[in-house]
């Protein structure tokens, strides 16, 4: 079964910057859709392992970027187009970017275009935007709210096309002692146990249910 559904991960997106940066569309989603808090204290400083946990729907050991991806049950089961997934570098998927060189704003634009293309063909999409996390990891706090605005516009365009969505961050912002272990979770469908945090494994399973086996 094919469905215009999107699982969009925005690494480093944090509720703690919502008040400061006021991303209008994300704030509107926050107030009108199903929401939660992603908890990832074990792998918060490991991008590839965090994403692998989602894509395998199983717990993972901490790993750095892989040289080639292992079997990814979520992608196989949903037949989703993978776009810019940071389990390898260059990233994995129909859009593959070199994270050491790609411009922060270019990445957002390219991911958006690739995802729109896949959605227009009726394909489910699993996509990642790493710009916010990469910029803040490089100490570019001054462009944080500009990136939030750009991400906000991209999310708006994508969700106008998608039938169902999960927008999340696998961890929060980088701080002096590492990344915040809490991320964003916004979805078009409810989840069981709304008074619990959301794990990465659950995110994968929820998307699988959303798309249908």
């Amino acid at each position: 079964m094919s469905k215009r559904a999107i699982l969009l991960g925005i690494d480093g997106l944090s509720y703690s910057s919502f008040m400061k940066c006021s991303p209008r569309f994300l704030m509107a989603l926050f107030n009108s859709t199903f929401r939660g808090v992603v908890k990832n204290d074990r792998l918060k400083d490991r991008t590839a392992a965090s994403w692998l946990e989602i894509l395998t729907m199983d717990t993972q050991n901490p790993t750095e970027f892989l040289s080639s991806p292992p079997p990814l049950p979520l992608i196989e089961a949903t037949r989703a187009d993978a776009i810019n997934i940071p389990i390898t570098n260059p990233t994995y998927g129909v859009l593959s970017l070199d994270l050491k060189n790609v411009d922060y704003f270019d990445e957002i634009s390219k991911v958006k275009e690739a995802a729109l293309m896949s959605l227009s063909r009726g394909r489910p999409v699993i996509a990642s935007i790493t710009s916010i996390d990469r910029a803040l990891s490089a100490g570019k706090e001054d462009i944080k709210c500009k990136l939030y605005a750009e991400v906000d516009r991209a999310v708006k365009e994508l969700l106008n096309v998608a039938e169902d969505f999960i927008v999340f961050s696998p961890y929060g912002e980088i701080r002096a002692n590492g990344r915040e272990p809490y991320g964003v979770f916004l979805a078009s469908v409810p989840r069981p146990h709304e008074h619990d945090t959301v794990s990465l494994v659950q995110i994968g399973r929820l998307f699988l249910d959303l798309v249908g086996h």
Binding site: Y15, S16, G36
Partner: protein
Amino acid sequence: MGEDKELEELLNKKAMELIEKTRQLQRDPFPPGEVVHLDSSNFDDFISRKRVTVVDFWAEWCAPCFILAPIIEELARDYPQVGFGKLNTDENPEIASRYGVMSLPTVLLFKDGEPVDAIIGAVPREMIEARLKVILNE
């Protein structure tokens, strides 16, 4: 000779331990400018230590709580004369129920250890600041 040296080292070690213990006792358990993590062991002491205190009641699953948190941190830095703390209601339900906290986030403002105002939800900084100023000026 060897025994003297051993004894001297032992005395030095004991002296250093005593100095460190004294330092720990002197350290403020509620340092100004910081948001203190509260639980049942320090809550009552915290709200009675300063004339005005502000407590942010939160939980891990509560998304608006994470939106509010940086505002509380900012206010803590700007009002060092006020005590700022945060209490996880899942881990300390008895304190939340003592003050009738039913929804999250809830910010309680205390004066002389007594709750005098409550603000519910992730509100802008200005709203908390205005209410805080009223209490500070009373």
